[in-house]
């Protein structure tokens, strides 16, 4: 699928807003989930719109995302409601959403996925600082490369900034100023583009050059981060130093879009040690740091979600102790994903790796 339409002479936000408004007002969808500013803050929050007239504050291209909105998207698509939903998501959010579909946390039935080119997001406080100085950060961010350097460390190493699997992809990379490319990724998307009455266009040639350059830059950064992180965690003792300030607040797991458990196992009786056990542990080891199982938490969480980690970096953003959780998780996840030849968000039909295994294997491990 690749039907292109170009909107020119409008800021990308305006073009996107126009398209989304049309979707709603022409009843092509029943609701739209999209990041929007509230009257109280410039920080865009995932917001569900059912009325086109309420869509003034939408700001999907803002370099800010206090959540990986896959969680919120899954909340509204937990089960099919008979209503048609448009979900406007960043690429990492779409990937996470696909993982959540596999984990039966939501359904894509009657869902229109609208993806955007993502130049990255800033940490919330960075964004707010720029917002109070600049007002419209979003427009400035599209053209100001020095602003673009203010995105999070994890975004700086993200190579998957183009929206795969979206029914409609809205692209700004490699476009002339004030133009947005709408591309369909499915029959649904194609039909909707036609309904929107956008004029057909070519995929501009420089887009590929631009994306390629960006990907290379990001890949170099990723390589650097992985190497640096690997070095920092390659002994358990070094790792302990990294997580020495961890508070067991579990914010990282709360922020993680693929940590889908209704209640984390670390909050259940499985890790509720008996006081006797703690005393015995202290007796044997001399001391026990409380809360316990800090390392266990991070490693277990890795064992649970490393294969599905989409590298959104929210875990680092929410850490009150500034532990580079995402550096650790993306570095380890790369190894796990390689071991399973699994790419999260690659294909909604591809089961998570633990659920597929070779029926026939040679008897006996190498002796």
């Amino acid at each position: 699928m690749s039907v292109y339409a170009m909107v020119k002479d409008a800021s990308p936000t305006v073009a996107v807003k126009a398209a989304l408004t049309k979707l709603l007002s022409q009843n092509l969808v029943d609701a739209v989930l999209v990041a929007a500013k509230s009257p109280y803050s410039a920080l865009p929050m995932p917001t569900l719109f059912a009325e086109a007239s309420a869509m003034d504050g939408i700001d999907p291209l803002a370099p800010a995302a206090p959540f990986n909105a896959a969680r919120q998207a899954a909340t509204v698509s937990r089960q099919a409601t008979g209503k048609r939903l448009a979900l406007v998501l960043r690429p990492c959010e779409i990937r996470a959403l696909i993982e959540l579909v596999k984990l039966n946390q939501c359904t894509l039935e009657n869902v229109v996925l609208i993806g955007i080119d993502c130049l990255g997001r800033m940490e919330n406080e960075v964004f707010l600082r720029h917002a109070s100085a600049l007002g419209d950060v979003t427009s400035e961010f599209q053209k100001n490369t020095s602003l673009q350097d203010d995105i999070t460390r994890t975004c700086q190493m993200c190579e998957q900034f183009e929206p795969a699997h979206a029914d409609i992809a809205m692209s700004t990379l490699g476009m002339a100023e004030n133009s947005v490319l709408f591309a369909s990724g499915s029959e649904t998307g194609e039909a909707l583009l036609k309904e929107l009455g956008l004029s057909p266009a070519e995929n501009p040639a420089q887009r590929e050059t631009v994306t390629k350059q960006l990907r290379e830059k990001r890949a170099a950064c990723k390589k650097e981060v992985f190497a640096e992180t690997s070095e920092k965690i390659n002994s358990i003792e070094k790792f302990e130093k990294m997580i020495g300030t961890c508070l067991n607040c579990y914010n990282c797991r709360q922020a993680c879009p693929v940590c889908y458990c209704r209640e984390c196992v670390f909050l259940t009786d499985v890790f509720a040690a008996r006081p006797e056990t703690l005393l015995r542990r202290a007796q044997k080891r001399g001391s026990v740091k409380l809360p316990t199982d800090t390392t266990m938490f991070h490693l277990t969480r890795l064992s649970h979600i490393a294969h599905s980690c989409v590298g959104c970096g929210q875990c680092s953003s929410v850490c009150p102790s500034n532990i580079p959780v995402a550096d650790i998780f993306t570095t380890v996840a790369a190894q796990v994903q390689a071991a399973y030849d699994y790419v999260p968000g690659r294909d909604v039909q591809e089961p998570i790796p633990y659920l597929i295994f070779a029926e026939k294997q040679k008897s006996g491990e190498p002796k």
Binding site: Y260, C261, E263, V265, L279, K284, P351
Partner: protein, 980 residues
Amino acid sequence: MNQPAKIVVIGAGISGIRSALDLAELGYKVCLLDRAPAMGGILTRLDRQFPNNHCGICRMLPMFDRDNSEAFCLRKGLSHDNIELLLSTEVTGVEGNPGNMTVTMVRQATGVDADRCIGCRECEKICPVEVPDSFNAELGKRKAIYLEVPYQRPNQRVIDLQACTRCGECVKVCPTAAIDLDMKPEILTFENIGGIVLASGTGLFNPQDTDVYGMDHFPNVVTSSAFERILSSSGPYQGSLMRPSDQHPPRKIAWIQCVGSRNPMIGADYCSSACCMISIKQALFAKERLGSDTQTTIFYMDMRTFGRDYQRYRDQAEKENKVAFVRCRIHSIEPGDEEGNLKISYVDHSGKPVNAVFDMAVLATGKDPLRKIPDFAAHPGIIATDAVSEWMDIGSAVVSASAVSERLVRMLSSAGISPEKQAAPPLSDKVAAPPHLQVVLCSCHGSLDKVLAENQLAAELKKIPGRMDIMQVKSVCDAEGLEKVKETLESGPANRLLFAACDTQVFLPKLRQLAAQTGIPKEFMDVVNLRVLAENASSPEVLGEMMQQLEMRANRLFRKKITPTDSRPIRKTALVIGGGPAGLSAALALAAQKIKVILVEKQETIGGNFANIYDAQNREMIGQLIAEAKDQPLITIHTDTEVINNAGVAGQFAARLRDKNGAEITILHGAAVIATGGGKADLPADTRADNKIISLYDLEAELNQPGMDAANINTVVFMQCVGSREEPRNYCSRICCLKSLKTAMKLKELNPDCNISIFYRDMMTYGESEKFYTQARAKGIIFIPFEKQEKPQIKIEAGRVLVQGFDPVLNEPVCLEADRVVLASGLIPNPVDVVAQAFQVSTTRDGFIREADSKWRPVDTGREGIFVCGLARGPVRADEAVQEGKAAALRALRILARDTIAASRHSAYVRHAICSLCERCIAICPFDARFIDPDLGRIMVDPVACQGCGLCAAECPNGATLIGDFEEYGVLDEIEAALG
């Protein structure tokens, strides 16, 4: 006399175990006895089985209601609350009538008191007498006081009184005074026995009895059972495949088939049925162990690969693994030029004499012709399994044993005997109280006193946190010691029990006993083998080791919980699909146990292939089944009807039936038996060139016409395996060879001058049907073998029908003009797509329904509550189909005979409050035991299907599903203690 009658099962081999378990699972009390000092028979000597080269013995164990039994490899033994095991015991007399019999037995003196022996093997270490090890085919040595089977649990020793020199050393070292060299055989009398299953097996032919292959002089000539031991890790060479003479790996191995079988000269006019497949399996293992360039040659008369998947197994061995198959009877083995080598002379396929030298020869032995069925076998109330008179593969033995169980149950119910209603023993109120551990230190008759005292173990134990009492007893092997423990548990506050004693497995029966007496579940009890640690008493680490082991188990016990178990009411109605012999026999067996049966038949009449059956015995048998089914008020017959859908779980299914007019009804049932059958395969199109070319079925029908005159049928050529035993229908249909023989002989009867030739690939007259082959040859019927790639050709020339082939005996081509060319086209299954889809069971590539395990669960499917029998599962004779029907009914009865089934304690359970409904547990469950309840929106666990394997719990990221008795917090605490 109020006690319900018990059942005696004679012989604790495969058949005996299957039958004992069948009856025990139905609630009958069973005495399972064996004359050997260990149970298991041939089971314990086999590592892997054809046709998948895997082991699955444990799959015979109960699938639900598992709290009644112990879950461990059956090589170790069998522990079920309803089964009393009597070893070294033989029946000497039987009196009375079914329902109330008296059985006299003699328990041989073993010299060791089984209640006291703790398996410490001090006696074995000191015993000075060495004799050949019977377990390992006498290829190794054992002591006069020994363990019959090395896996056996409890691992109590027995004395080989013939070898024992009565030196008394063992008596001196025994720490529990368990040895009594003057022990006398004991006469046991069991009254109030309801019935007896005779499952004593056929014995194994010993070639030394008629030594044609020189086993006495050639150490490298071994029997197939000895080769099985040589392959085994627990065998004489620890699993290294070596030949006995010099313990070098053989490079060339020969298998000689039919040793002691198919030999009327020694009274063995039968085929032992399983040896061909065993030899192929052994050849494959030889190649796997020693490398694919190892030469393996199987010398055979007919390769009897008549089981459903066996022909492909053979083909693969031949083509891919290069196992050589040579058709010839080997007359003798001579010594080779090199030490230990063996020379085998034979004539090859092209008629050329060959002298081949092998490093080793394996004699494929089967049934022992000298073995007599005991005199009491004919006594009313005794039912023998087929495996008493025929050697057979495991799957057939299992079917036969369950069929016998069914007959026995039928006999008992007509004698008015039903199993005791067993209520689970009530749990003590204390179980719900906070954990309180009772540690029992056993000083093993004082022998551990020193270790316990020196290490101040009792004082150390107090460091383990948690409420705990500690007591020391002299011996828990004595009734007195165990009684003391029981009293303490009953009177004290403890609700958990940890023994610090000896071999864990010795304790299992004691734990079960204590659990029954005190109401504290056995899951709350555990044992640490202190004895084995104490053997290292000099080592400074011993205290640490002991403490750590005790703390591990204690930690686990402290975290144990009893989880509420769901109980499911059972719909006491069975659905039987197919009204042929298998289905009818299943339906009648179920109805005999007061189970309502809904019998669904696609055709307009029941009886299956009845119209095409001419064999008098089979006609009578099936005719009777049809009549009985029509008369049985509990059986409702729906003809012209199909099952199009089935939903639910074992015990509570709902099926949708559709008749030929398209009318649909829903019926509720508790278990289903699929017996959709099969029928004759059509002749290949290219064989219908002349009306003299007919199918075997046609000839059979023709000859059975009233007033049939066969005077003008003078020359008949039969051709076997037409369209079968090669792709795409690469299986043996199992009935054709026997049918050809019977039909040919009928023809001879009608026209004694008729010339009959039978072209065959391998005559599949397995078991007792070999006699017909012998008779047919005696009647002058000519048998001409051919290979798949050199089929005889049918030519039609000027109205004459000619069959051109090659006769290897004459070593020249033959061309026969025939009045009839009779083609054996075999059997195909009826289409099963709809039924397989409806019941969600899998099928084979040939369109048969696949059973759960062809050896160990032959009539179960992968879905609990759905069973399969007869031609739907694979080619069978009518009598075999009837047996399978009974076996399937018996399996279904395990469910249907109950009012409710509760989950076993060792099962999965879901904590809905924290379940995220990701359904990974459903995807990973190997037993389809988990499903979503659409009304509740919850993951449910089927208590019947769940086996407690824990895959779901390991897959569940947040402990929303846990496994009873293996809860994660307990295991984590145990790991912590292990590393503390």
